[in-house]
Symmetry: C2
Subunit: 337 residues, 2 copies
């Protein structure tokens, strides 16, 4: 153990930071009728009957006076969407209420909206707590909203994933079923299964689908370019694949340099649109079991894997360009990196 | 706002639960020299100079006596791996220290290991807090460990993902670049890019690789079975693909029913092993940018997508059976569902 007298506060703060907390904004009405508020994560529940909560305020805080003289305060538990609100009320030199719409609670205490919960309190005790004052308030009224929480840990904001019942969280990492590549492949494969069935029903294969998908980002491409893009996904397009699509009335081939150009027919374009709509429907189905927060977490993490493995793409093609052009699910736009 | 006198405690507890917290176990030495401990999430920091922390204890708790008469207590901030410890110290009718190895701190207060941080405290104040007592302690020594935190929110444990600097967390969901299917495809594609390059260098395609991968889970399979498994991944294996592999000395074909059997040659088996090793290396590379907690989160979320989309697999083949057999990356074992 580190003896406290021999070390600086930095290490102590770091140790305290390993306790995760929500983030609150505590507000009151100042002696001159001004709105006062600050970001605090020292909030906690105290008592159920009577209902009481507490939080601590630095004795050096410019807001101490207002909270000491007011008999009421409000605590807002911030939601995931309120990171900006948290930052705004943590700044020392700004009008913290700038651009923020407030309602009025008991004794005109300002109330913020958009939070996960808020509590209006009557100050019951002010306790000595070293360089802080501990405010204990009896809750006179409260509201609760179903919003994902803003979480703070080790000096950073975080996203919270609630564990499902009986969900096993392994700390180990092995190359079993939860091998990352296997999971990615399986998730992708299952997600896209309905589309694959459709393709097969039409007598087409993965290669045919890839050709159509690349074309749906803009047709008139050269055969040589198409073949090069297909190779990157591990497909070797043979002449027969193009001929199959011609035979189905989906594309036309025009003679020219580098193997000529490939164009959609009207039927081909229609088919590509239907494929895109099916993709979207398949993804919406897959996400029904995930809540908005989980989808967000998954997107953030996949984004990191994508950035980490980005260097594996051949430079020659232009990495972003390749992905924009070879986006088989018709999702145009810029790739964030 | 809900007026507190008109509602029951359940709603109030729910509102309080929207404030995320870490989880602690607070311990002390009882008057008869017995070890006393309990799970609490009402912990928080109070003061930096002097260093002080606080937590609240129900006046009805059987541990109240011990904490009231002892002048010291220890707070352990639990790590993600200590969910069981949290549960054990939250039970009312068990020997909470059963199977738990303790060290001894100041005044023989029991100290647990495996936590993210622990604080030894001298009780400074015991404050009135409705149906709870607020214990404020001066920290006399502490230790901090680099372990992911156990987090509690809305009555459930959670996993925390720290936001990276400048990471944009969209609350909206659209079918742009962060379309789930696109992200899964891109992550998988990039992760596996080194293997694809290897396959292409050997003049083989995705279909060839799939044939070899399925065989690596056990060769001697019938041609008909292989073709059926390949179709599920969107591949139509033609006779030429098998002949290509024979020409490369990787497989042999034996005549028989349903198209005959396919076997590895010694060189083919060696090649499959090398492919598996390359897969593992590629995944390790991809995960270098993710910490253990992020990998864990990603695995949990992909697991949910996989379960959600499970129904898209054709029943006829046996869903688990298919995945065990068609596990192209050589990851045997049971699929958790």
């Amino acid at each position: 153990m580190t003896n406290i007298s021999s070390i600086d506060g930095k290490k102590f703060r770091k140790a305290l930071g390993s306790f995760a907390t929500g983030v609150t904004v505590v507000t009151t009405r100042g002696t001159d009728g001004e709105d006062v508020g600050l970001t605090a994560n020292s909030f906690n529940s105290v008592s159920l009957d009577p209902p009481m909560v507490l939080w601590s305020l630095d004795k050096k805080s410019s807001s101490l006076d207002a909270f000491t003289h007011s008999n009421h305060f409000a605590v807002h538990i911030l939601s995931l969407e309120q990171e900006k609100v948290s930052n705004q009320f943590a700044k020392s030199d700004s009008d913290r209420f700038a651009g923020i719409e407030v309602e009025r609670g008991v004794e005109n205490v300002p109330l913020l909206s958009g939070c996960s919960a808020r509590f209006e309190c009557r100050t019951t005790y002010r306790y000595e707590g070293g360089d802080h004052v501990i405010f204990v308030g009896e809750v006179v009224s409260f509201e609760s909203f179903d919003r994902a929480p803003l979480v703070f840990h080790s000096g950073k904001y975080g996203l919270l994933l609630k564990k499902a019942d009986n969900e096993v969280i392994d700390s180990g990492w092995d190359f079993g079923d939860d091998f990352l590549g296997f999971q990615l492949r399986r998730a992708y494969f299952q997600l896209m299964a309905p589309l694959r069935v459709d393709i097969q029903r039409r007598g087409l294969s993965e290669i045919h689908r890839s050709i159509l998908s690349i074309l749906s980002m803009g047709d008139g491409r050269g055969r040589a370019e198409l073949e090069r893009l297909l190779e990157l996904t591990g497909h070797r397009a043979a002449n027969e694949h193009f001929q199959d699509l011609v035979a189905q009335g989906l594309i036309t081939l025009q003679a020219g340099v580098e193997g000529g150009q490939v164009y959609f027919t009207a039927a081909g374009r229609q088919s590509a649109l239907e494929n895109m709509a099916m993709s979207k429907a398949a993804e919406e189905d897959a996400m029904q079991g995930l809540d908005a927060n989980e989808v967000r977490l998954l997107k953030v993490l996949l984004g990191r894997v994508i950035r980490n493995t980005r260097s594996s793409l051949p430079d020659s093609l232009g990495k972003d360009k390749f992905w924009r052009e070879n986006n088989v699910w018709g999702a145009p736009g810029t790739i964030q990196s």
